[in-house]
Symmetry: C2
């Protein structure tokens, strides 16, 4: 069993157990539905909000001490906060259990164990809490249980609108913040927040000043000194807390469960009804069962048993969960076109109808000229140029997984205009944009950026050209040509392949510097990512993508990727570029102002590392690919104190050139790395690739994964695959087959496949 | 001596002593120069920022635990935070001393007293700290002193730009946050923040995680457990703190002073130079002396000895200080046209050249049509209509105080156009706007609002008319006519007086409801502030201003103000309207959505109360005026727990109709109340009015203020005035004089005046 700084996996129960109360940084967990989002730390604090309309998020809970459960022994007056650490002394027992869609924080002091579980319903704007109090001491205990929540009523900032008080019909606390819908001021119809409980409330307060105390910390809330809470409502600036006190007497060994709900509503009546519905007996457990059932169904699409248990857990459970977040909420702060497209490409095998829907959503953010918006919800209109390059791959994944060729003829509007076109037309316009909006070297114009969000000033004046984008365009054109072949449009396919060829020539002529591809030319015609460059002389992505686009093939590909090993490798992955910039360059952009080792400036930017893994596999270098996967996985001993949640891959580890915090993983979860990591392992390393006409098997596993077993559902049939090291033969249901494509079997049937590589 | 909940005044030293560590709410203190601002609580925490360019504020210090001084006994390991309260146990001794332009927080524990003084230099973007440590125990003590500051380096939110470390040349800690100046992202040239000290630093850290500790509170910083700080720089997300540790050994009774500076600079070199300059020996003391000298000079313009010591202190010191804030920083969050104009009208007597400058600044925000912008720095373009109504009064104050009639001919541009005009032209256009932009009743159109910021929807559709604005226009026209008379433009004066007369007729015909003036007509032609209104039926300001504008005179004025006494009086002033709205009305505006008793919806909105005081005096009702002044002063026993700083008047006390927090004073300092309160006492109650041709004396004091002494500097001469109750005669230098205007005497001379009223 792998032990991480923060804890370990309970594999059978798909659970990560955090048993370190004070890890390098708080561990993050997301719990979400299509319309509600909770961002929790390992204590269960953090914020939540509802997507109440397009691009409109109404906060529910947040701030310091967002959710706290205190227990006080009424006889001794001793108390503790079950899910927070505000003193130097850790709890007698403390764990936090992470499962997809849920979390339980367990704290024990004074012989009382509190288990605080959180989830969100599949529909609606609410948090569901379940609090179990267990008397593990030998004596009967008379307890006060305090549930404390920071409801974010005051969203407009104008406190004169706010009041909070007990509401008898609700049997809980109701906050109102009904504002005058002033021009320029955000207005939410959900002007009411509520907090209710399944168990009688003995006392309450809506004032943080009367719970924590104005000059206190959550280590010593003033209310703990009182027999009960003061039963006060509040208004103006003292409406930032709900605390209810409930009394339970427990025999030794006895447990008591209390449920709570916090939510938002358009009226007090709606709040009362919602609270009643969400507190219905069994709803919490039903919700968790439903979430678990969906997750287990999704797992079945690809179940892995490779011998690397952590990698298996990632593929089977945790990456799927993380990509589910991506395809639903993208980067949470906003939906990047490229981000959603990539996440959908990864999640597509698990839910093709969803992929169809999300692709159409994305394409409706494509301009009639073929380019796309950088981000929607909220809109980010900066003139990035790479959107179109991501379309063919994701459409191809959907077609291959579903066989739904008619999808190409589905009509979809263009962004902010009256025009619409078929999916095929969207693809064509995207490819037209990429092949025609080129600069003086015939390479794609850089505009405000490509994949590298932070090389955002190289092409602002309209002359700079991106080599990476040109390479990505070649790859996209080739994928598009395959789609056209599938649609029996071979002639058109040839035309686009010719475009790809033309672009390839330009890339090789102008995008190459001695032994590697450069990042591009800026507006001043200066090379970025070349040996003559002042900062980064060698970038990762251009090399990986040149391989993936079959621009650098065979020996040339190997030599190129060998240089990557020499230039960019470190003890925990591969840096995005080397050396890091140390001086801001206004003709290149943000990345040059970043500290060395940060983000695109020399971090181990994992999204880029996954491209490199795919390229390794594409060249058949499975050993290197697997070593690279292992180097960025959280069980790399180098990364023991990096801070990452082992159940979610991170967008980056700060690079070795940063002298202050190399290896640190400041934020995770919201990254394209998850989807690519999933695909790298399943489609590239294990080589299980859905094709339009069957399941292609092109594994390139290292020896230590010999005997890997996979269960893959494809077009409704189950393929039970075993991968052996050895000469390249394949047995399907015991029969040797030519080639590497397993045919499409009737849905509901199960077949065994053995493959040697 | 008046005792307040929070402390008491040290009158002689112009100091307010806060001796209650836990008042109703933290007390606020502002320390400012023209370009730098500190907003402190009574512990010395709070934020600071520099105005580095027009409308551009670069933060320097802020956040939780913004400035903290800890002392640790190196032998016992015991420690305490000298200027914060994070545990339930108050300090052995704790006081906070407020003086204009400075503050000292004194905390004592373990026999060690720390005095932490703060000020800002008159020029530049920096905070100056002086920390005195005194050993009040009997034994020699080996101490570590920790100075902790939260420097706000990371202004762009992109943490990849940030690093912090010890800088040898600086002898302190330097933060860098040099960003790519991206379109749409705030950019400050001041990319560097520094923190330096006059005394050798033994150890340091730039990580809050290594000072407070990631999972700790400021009650138990993890660093206190260590022998020294870890001497680490930091980058990315852990650059939010500076802490330096310094070692001092003190004999019993010995003191040690350490100086610190925190500031911002454009380069590391500039930071080093600035730190050296600001840490020069004696600079802190010189700055405080300079600030005190300026304040004492300003005091001399009007020194009061009335027998009401608290009122005397307010007039002599604290209101002057507060109005100085107003004329320099307006409401701090922005410069309202009306706000600056009123504050300048109050501060004009103390600094006529400044008034001249500020009037021109304001007039440059007047549109060519005569209306003004609502707010500048930052711009707020909402279509308020009252700006022009405030111009004549402030210009008149300046002319009367200075005699500088040429000012009327000074050219000043109009806002956002190529046009400019003389001050007189600005006045004319303002009056033209008020008299011509009228509605179907001939009253001023309401637009997006008048003085009442929150009745902001009554005239949005272009039909609503404001009675208050019409009354204010009448007052403005009459003041303008006086200015014209002074400029020998009597004919034009007559013309504007005729306009005033015309408007008055309309007001009396359409703005009246049974026994009081209404607020106006909304776009639906419904009366606001009339008996037939659903919400507030009776407003304060229309009545006060009708008296001030001489629309309601003599008996009519008395009857009107008697109704105010009946309808709006409460135990701590007069509510702005009654009853409060209890239901949002989209045809009136924000005020109707506010909770009852909040802000313009039924609070004791003190700006309005000062208008009422002026009106009382204007009618000769000095007893009522004085009683009203006393009712809103912080020594009203009803207001003991209201939370206000006794050294700064507050914009409001929450009204009696609010069931949760009546009397509470949530925020103070930044309010037009200060300037009007000052004028109400000095010009209305005491009746010392600068005129163009002399000092008019029209006191209307109550009997208990009999014998009030005033020293007033006017046109350079000093007038030593005594006010007696009695028949209306006046002695000047012992000689009885006719009328009530004391002539202009040569600058530098001193004269005695005795007046009976």
């Amino acid at each position: 069993m792998v032990k991480f700084e923060s804890g370990y996996f309970d594999r059978e129960n798909r659970k990560y157990i955090i048993n370190n109360m004070t890890p390098t940084r708080p561990l993050v967990n997301f719990i979400w539905s299509e319309e509600f989002m909770m961002t929790l730390d390992h204590f269960g604090c953090g914020s939540s909000f509802g997507k109440v309309a397009y691009s409109t998020r109404r906060p529910l809970i947040g701030g310091e001490g967002a959710r706290l459960i205190y227990v006080k022994d009424r006889k001794s007056g001793d108390y503790f906060c079950a899910n927070g650490l505000y003193t130097a002394k850790p709890h007698d027992f403390h764990e936090s259990h992470i499962v997809p869609g849920g979390q339980t924080v367990i704290g024990e002091e004074m012989g009382i164990r509190v288990s605080f579980s959180l989830t969100a319903p599949m529909k609606g704007y609410a948090e569901l809490w379940k609090v179990e109090i267990e008397n593990r001491s030998d004596a009967e205990r008379e307890l006060s249980v305090y549930a404390h929540a920071c409801l974010q009523a005051d969203y407009s900032g104008h406190r004169s609108y706010t009041c909070a008080d007990w509401n008898e019909a609700l049997g809980g606390v109701l906050y109102s913040h009904e504002i005058y819908p002033e021009p320029g001021v955000t207005f939410y119809e959900h002007g009411h927040l509520y907090f209710g409980s399944s168990y009688p409330v003995n006392s309450y307060t809506t004032s943080q000043d009367k719970f924590k105390g104005l000059y206190r910390t959550f280590a010593e809330p003033v209310a703990m000194e009182w027999d009960a809470l003061p039963n006060n409502g509040s208004s103006y600036n003292d409406c930032n807390t709900t605390a209810v006190e409930q009394r339970v007497t427990l025999f030794s060994g006895e447990k008591k469960v209390i449920y709570y709900v916090a939510g938002m509503a358009k009226s007090p009546e709606e709040a009362c009804n919602a609270a009643r519905d969400y507190l219905k007996e069994g709803l919490f457990e039903q919700t968790m069962e439903q979430r678990t059932a969906i997750a287990r169904e999704t797992e079945k699409v690809f179940m892995l048993e490779s011998g690397n248990e952590y990698m298996d857990d990632l593929v089977n459970t945790w990456l799927k969960n993380q990509v589910d977040l991506g395809k639903t909420w993208a980067r949470v702060y906003g939906c990047g076109f490229r981000d959603v497209m990539q996440d959908v490409a990864a999640f597509g095998s698990m839910d093709p109808p969803m992929a169809r829907k999300k692709i159409l959503l994305c394409l409706s953010h494509q301009f009639p000229n073929g380019n796309t918006i950088r981000m929607f919800e909220p809109m980010m209109r900066v003139d990035y140029r790479d959107g179109a390059a991501w379309i063919p791959e994701t459409v191809s994944v959907y077609l291959n997984e579903s066989g739904d060729l008619d999808f190409l003829n589905v009509e979809c509007p263009y962004f902010e205009c009256d025009e619409s076109g078929t999916v095929l037309d969207h693809l064509r316009r995207g490819m037209t944009f990429l092949t025609t909006v080129v600069g003086e070297h015939g390479l794609c114009l850089w505009g405000a950026g490509d994949w590298n969000d932070s090389t955002n000033a190289a092409g602002l004046r309209g002359r700079g050209e991106s080599v990476w984008l040109s390479i990505a365009a070649v790859k996209a054109l080739k994928t598009f040509a395959k789609i056209l072949n599938q649609a029996n449009l071979d002639e058109e396919a040839q035309k686009w392949l010719a475009e790809a060829e033309k672009l390839t020539e330009k890339i090789n002529a102008y995008g190459w510097d001695r032994d590697h591809y450069i990042h591009g030319y800026n507006d001043d015609r200066k090379k970025v990512g070349a040996y003559e460059s002042a900062g980064a002389k060698f970038y990762l992505n251009m090399q990986s993508w040149a391989v993936l686009a079959d621009i650098a093939t065979g020996e040339a590909g190997h030599k190129l990727m060998d240089r990557v090993e020499e230039e960019l490798k470190c003890a925990y992955g591969y840096v995005q570029c080397a050396p890091s910039y140390t001086k801001g360059d206004i003709t290149i952009g943000r990345t040059t102002y970043f500290l060395p080792g940060c983000v695109e400036n020399g971090a181990v930017y994992n999204h880029g590392v996954t491209f490199k893994i795919a390229a390794d596999c594409h060249l058949g270098r499975g050993d290197l690919a697997y070593a690279t996967i292992r180097s960025i996985m959280a069980d790399n001993p180098e990364l023991y104190h990096c801070g990452v949640e082992p159940y979610a891959v991170t967008n980056m580890y700060i690079g070795p050139e940063n002298i202050y915090c190399p290896k640190f993983a400041p934020c995770s979860w919201i990254t394209g790395t998850a989807g690519w990591m999933y695909r790298c392992i399943t489609e590239y390393l294990l080589g299980v690739q859905a094709q339009f006409d069957g399941l292609k098997l092109v594994p390139c596993i290292p020896a230590e994964l010999d005997g890997t077993k996979i269960s893959r559902i494809y077009r409704g049939a189950t393929y039970q695959i075993t991968i052996h090291k050895g000469s390249g033969k394949m047995l399907v249901d015991g029969q040797e087959m030519d080639g590497n494509i397993v045919p499409i079997f009737p849905a509901g049937t199960t077949h065994t496949v053995e493959v040697w590589c």
